[in-house]
């Protein structure tokens, strides 16, 4: 059971880090660009919100498989598919949780408007300098919301993992899958234990989130 819990946390941590690295420039571009197709890209990022996990899982199964790009990558390392691997789950989770991270960060970037950036520019700050010393600190609440939502959403992920994971202990068997197994095999004691734990976890995360958000909202201009 601890192996499953640790694996789930590991997956959520790595996914969140990857999402912050990819999501920040993406959110910045979405917030500041004037390209006509930017809303189309924003829509693509938001798609996992409405698509059933089975659709994503189905496409991922093919994309990660021997005839997709995932199979090509796997062959470089002597495998033949990225499905059924931890790396495959990270790829799936990053796509699936992306809107939960990108959207709050983008909103935070948009919220403070052009003014602070223009002021920084008149004080001769370089664009990069402005980004790190003005934009990032101002967008802090958005980052916090995004990171927590991305983490929590990955912990709660089920459908995609079910479709591409293959239920391998220590590799792809995460909490939600373990709970499903326990329910299926009528081991309700263990199911209650894990499910109850998830419930408390979700409650604490969202409560902490809202409390911190309120506090941050007071100190940021």
């Amino acid at each position: 059971m601890w192996q499953t819990i640790l694996l789930t946390i590991e997956l959520a941590v790595i996914t969140t880090i990857v999402l912050l690295i990819i999501g920040t420039p993406l959110a910045w571009w979405l917030a500041r660009s004037r390209a006509w197709w930017k809303e189309a890209l924003a829509t693509v990022v938001a798609l996992p919100l409405v698509l059933p996990p089975t659709v994503l899982g189905f496409y991922l199964l093919i994309a990660l498989g021997p005839s997709g790009p995932g199979g090509w990558i796997a062959r470089q390392f002597g495998g033949q598919t990225l499905a059924f691997t931890f790396e495959g789950l990270v790829i799936g989770s990053v796509i699936y949780s992306m809107p939960f991270v990108v959207q709050p960060i983008r909103n935070a970037f948009e919220a403070f408007g052009d003014r602070p950036l223009e002021v920084a520019a008149t004080l001769r700050a370089s664009p990069l300098d402005t980004f790190f010393t003005v934009a990032l600190p101002l967008a802090r609440p958005g980052f916090l919301t995004g990171a927590v939502l991305g983490f929590a959403h990955t912990v709660g992920e089920f459908g995609v993992v079910l479709m591409i994971g293959g239920n391998i202990p220590g590799e792809t068997k995460v909490l939600s899958i373990a709970i499903y197994d326990y329910v299926e095999t009528l081991q309700w004691d263990q199911a209650h234990l894990l499910a109850g734990g998830m419930l408390i976890f979700a409650f604490i995360v969202i409560l902490a989130m809202m409390t911190i958000e309120k506090r941050l909202g007071r100190v940021t201009p």
Binding site: L49, V50, L61, I62, L64, G65, P66, S67, G71, G79, Q80, T81, A83, F84, F100, Q103, P104, N107, A108, A111, G142, T145, V148, L149, L162, M163, G166, N167, I168, Y180, D181, V183, E184, T185, L186, I206, M209, M210, E213
Partner: protein
């Protein structure tokens, strides 16, 4: 952007989507049948014949046997249960969810090792030679075909060596999906799934390598007084239904 706003939007989307889905509602002359995934295609055809030959209709609901059983214990509206094993219908009978004495074996499943690769699944040598990356089986903890697959591998003394290469599908349909997409080179599937599949290679596992996969049907308490449900179970024993069951790669008892 407040977190509440994000969750709120998410919530609205959820309500909109679920509003579009309406569960099966029984009316006169209709029986709601919960069917184990492996029997999906055969059940559809039997339901077609059932509708032609009687005045009743059958609404089919597919799922894994374990999942269906759990739903039955939580008052699912099913009236007939076509399981993939004997354990769950027997348990339903014992726990009072099914009518005592209504249980019988409607099909005997056949386990097949299938590969997309033409030259791979040609006998037990493929398992002993061990020249592949992944082999898919249904979850042996609750899927009978998965348990049979494990048993067959143990009979062949290859289970220990193959264990690290096993990936588990949530049910037999997903196991087949892993094999069809080539993510797993080999998969232990039900022969009923390969009815319309003329590609790839297959090895029909000798039946003495595993305990027979006897699939039982049972009349659930909800359908006890329902004419359509009783008729459906009787129809399942008819020559028409038995012919369909055989045609889909199952054995029938006696």
């Amino acid at each position: 952007m407040s977190i509440l706003k994000v969750l709120w939007c998410w919530r609205i989307i959820g309500v909109l989507v679920s509003g579009l889905m309406v569960g099966p509602i029984a009316f006169a002359g209709e029986t709601i049948v919960a069917v184990a995934t492996n029997f999906t295609e055969a059940a559809k055809e039997i339901a077609r014949h059932f509708e032609q030959e009687t005045n009743h209709t059958a609404a089919l609901s597919f799922g894994s046997t374990g999942q269906i059983y759990t739903q039955i214990t939580q008052a699912a509206p099913f009236e007939v249960f076509l399981a993939a094993d004997q354990a769950r219908p027997a348990k339903a009978e014992k726990q009072g969810y099914a009518v005592t004495g209504s249980r019988f074996t409607y099909a005997i499943g056949e386990l097949v090792l299938w590969s997309k690769d033409l030259s791979l699944a040609n006998g037990m040598e493929v398992l002993t030679a061990n020249q592949f990356n992944k082999i898919a089986i249904a979850n042996p903890n609750f899927a009978p075909y998965g348990a049979a697959a494990v048993q067959a591998m143990k009979t062949l003394n290859v289970y220990e060596t193959l264990a690290p290469k096993i990936v588990q599908g949530n049910n037999i349909a997903q196991t087949y999906q892993f094999a069809v997409t080539g993510n797993a080179e080999l998969g232990f599937v039900a022969s009923s799934q390969l009815i319309n599949q003329d590609q790839g290679s297959r090895w029909i596992i000798p039946t003495n390598y595993y305990d027979a996969i006897r699939q039982d049907a049972v009349l659930l308490t909800r359908g006890a007084e329902d004419e359509a449900s009783q008729t459906f179970l009787a129809f399942l024993k008819s020559p028409t239904a038995r012919a369909v069951i055989k045609q889909y790669g199952y054995g029938v008892s006696k």
